[in-house]
């Protein structure tokens, strides 16, 4: 279980889960689960486009993730955020449908980009993943305070001169970075689940931001490690175990949050 290609899988999944736990905290605080779904899912179209043009998957995903983030931000200035996100994701996926029909990717490749095939990570994919993870974590560290402030108290943040549109765009760009880091190695489903479930579970257990961030990272790591091990033993897809595991972690935390004293779930 810890030999050869599997080592790459463990390393890639660990990097992705750690960053997803961090970014996920803000995703849940800001109510941005739709964007966390839309960017990875839509960026899959970039991979399909890259296959048509014969360029690297990473480049295609990066271009689509960034364009998607800026598109949501631009549309969101004059519309409800969820409408802007929906329109952006269908635009990206429609392009994906076009690329697929023009004869780029084939079915197993589509499956692994959407649902994840973490067991097939190659050594050369690890370096860009680690690099993007470092950039994403640094960006998050720099933006930690303004992001937190604008997520908890938008009015107070504005009074201190933090522009809501600018911080929202910055957050979407961080999501786009996390997407670019994750989609080529673990697929869209994995990163989406890891962005939402662990952080939502952490928020059920503690109200303190610092603790919630750490807990979110810990739960993300636990979910993905358990999923890889189960996938390895049973032979069923890792995406299934991450999806089901994420929901289970959330359900248990919600239950525990209700039972714990002094914390309204």
């Amino acid at each position: 279980m810890f030999s050869g290609l599997m080592v790459n899988a463990w390393e890639a999944a660990t990097i992705v889960a750690a960053v997803a736990g961090l970014v996920g905290f803000f995703t849940v605080m800001r109510g941005s689960a739709f964007a966390a779904h839309a960017l990875p899912n839509g960026a899959f179209a970039g991979a399909a486009g890259a296959a048509v043009l014969g360029v690297s998957t990473l480049l295609g995903v990066a271009v689509f993730a960034l364009a998607g983030a800026l598109g949501i931000a631009a549309l969101g200035r004059r519309a409800r955020r969820d409408v802007a996100t929906a329109l952006a994701v269908v635009a990206m996926l429609a392009l994906g449908a076009l690329f697929l029909s023009l004869g780029g990717a084939y079915a197993p490749e589509v499956y692994s980009l959407l649902f994840g095939q973490v067991l097939g990570v190659s050594g050369s994919q690890l370096l860009p993943t680690a690099g993007l993870a470092a950039v994403c974590a640094t960006g998050l560290a720099v933006l930690y305070r303004p992001l937190l402030l604008s997520s908890v108290g938008p009015e107070m943040a504005e009074a201190r001169g933090i522009r809501p549109a600018a911080i929202e765009t910055a957050f979407l760009l961080l999501l786009a970075l996390a997407t670019t880091m994750a989609v080529p190695v673990v697929g869209a489903l994995l990163i989406f689940t890891l962005l939402v479930s662990p952080a939502a579970a952490a928020r059920c257990l503690t109200a303190r931001p610092g603790r919630a961030v750490l807990l979110s990272v810990a739960l993300a790591l636990a979910t993905v490690w358990a999923a890889i091990a189960l996938s390895y033993w049973t032979g069923y897809p890792v995406g299934f175990f991450v999806g089901a595991g994420g929901a289970a972690v959330y359900a248990l935390s919600r239950l525990a949050g209700r039972l714990l004293p002094g914390r309204a779930g």
Partner: protein
């Protein structure tokens, strides 16, 4: 063969119009209530039911409807009243459903090589069986009837929850009824035209219509009209693209419909940019 004489084109035009007409009223409320994520999530969740149905060899439509009703019920049960809690509840349900989808599709590809992943996600309006038209029409009729019954209470609770509560309107029942109509409308459209197009037709025409008019009744009609026009334009363009490079295969309908819908939305946004108070 000419455009209107083609059987698949006939079926595509009829089903496309039915889906657009159902998506009009449901979509307007989806946009007003800020439930676009739920609509999109149900379309994706439906693919889980669809792939499960593939696996056990029953009509995918039953899988879509069954799973969507379950998903809508769980979202309603998990979701708290605040928009943020709803967003997370939708995300958790979607993640779990997509996990199941991954399992079903994986099992499916082990037993055959039909490329179920792509069929289920992207659907194709040109490969519809004409025999499903009556069923689609009946489901569409049920969804429109539910919306007609719910129309006034739903409007009140969407526009002014406080006033609705003051009049003793049961918010839970109204919200559950709306999710039921949404689940029906979305399964219908996702199974016929694919999950992507389903979201595009649900949100795009409704958001465009709400830019053009603030009167909900007019918006419902306009959304149905815009959706139908976009679908028909998409079908016609896709038919035409058979003669574009790469020759002899055609570009996907979903691509054209989405871009007609987006163009309409951006045009409506630009046209009303000068006016005040529009959302």
């Amino acid at each position: 063969m000419s455009f209107f004489a083609s059987g698949p084109v006939h079926t595509a035009l009829i089903v496309g119009a039915l889906v657009a007409v159902v998506s009009g009223p449901v979509g307007v409320f989806t946009v007003i209530r800020g439930q676009s994520f739920a609509g999109h999530a149900l379309a994706d969740t439906g693919t889980t039911g669809g792939s499960g149905a593939f696996l056990v060899n029953v009509n995918p439509l039953y899988g879509f409807v069954a799973l969507n009703l379950i998903a809508a019920a769980v979202m309603e049960a998990l979701g708290v009243r605040r928009a943020r809690g709803r967003d997370v509840a939708t995300g958790i349900v979607l993640g779990a459903a997509l996990g199941l989808s991954a399992l079903f599709l994986d099992l499916e590809t082990r037993s055959s090589t039909t490329g179920a992943t792509i069929t289920v996600l992207f659907g194709s309006i040109f490969t519809l069986d004409p025999g499903t038209v009556p069923f689609v029409a009946v489901t569409a009729g049920v969804a429109v009837a539910v919306m007609a019954v719910l129309y006034r209470p739903l409007l009140l609770s969407s526009v002014s929850p406080e006033l609705a509560a003051a009049r003793g309107l049961p918010a839970g029942v109204v919200s559950a009824g709306y999710l039921l109509a949404l689940a029906l409308a979305v399964s219908l459209s996702a199974v016929t035209i694919g999950a992507i197009l389903s979201t595009a037709l649900l949100v795009g025409p409704a958001a465009t219509a709400l830019r053009l008019t603030r009167r909900p009744g007019a918006a419902v009609l306009a959304a149905a009209g815009i959706g139908t026009a976009a679908t028909w334009a998409g079908v016609a363009l896709s038919y035409e693209s058979y003669y574009w490079p790469p020759y002899q295969q055609g570009w996907p309908v979903s691509f054209f419909v989405v871009f007609v819908v987006l163009a309409a939305y951006l045009a409506a946004t630009a046209a009303t940019a000068g006016r005040k108070g529009r959302r």
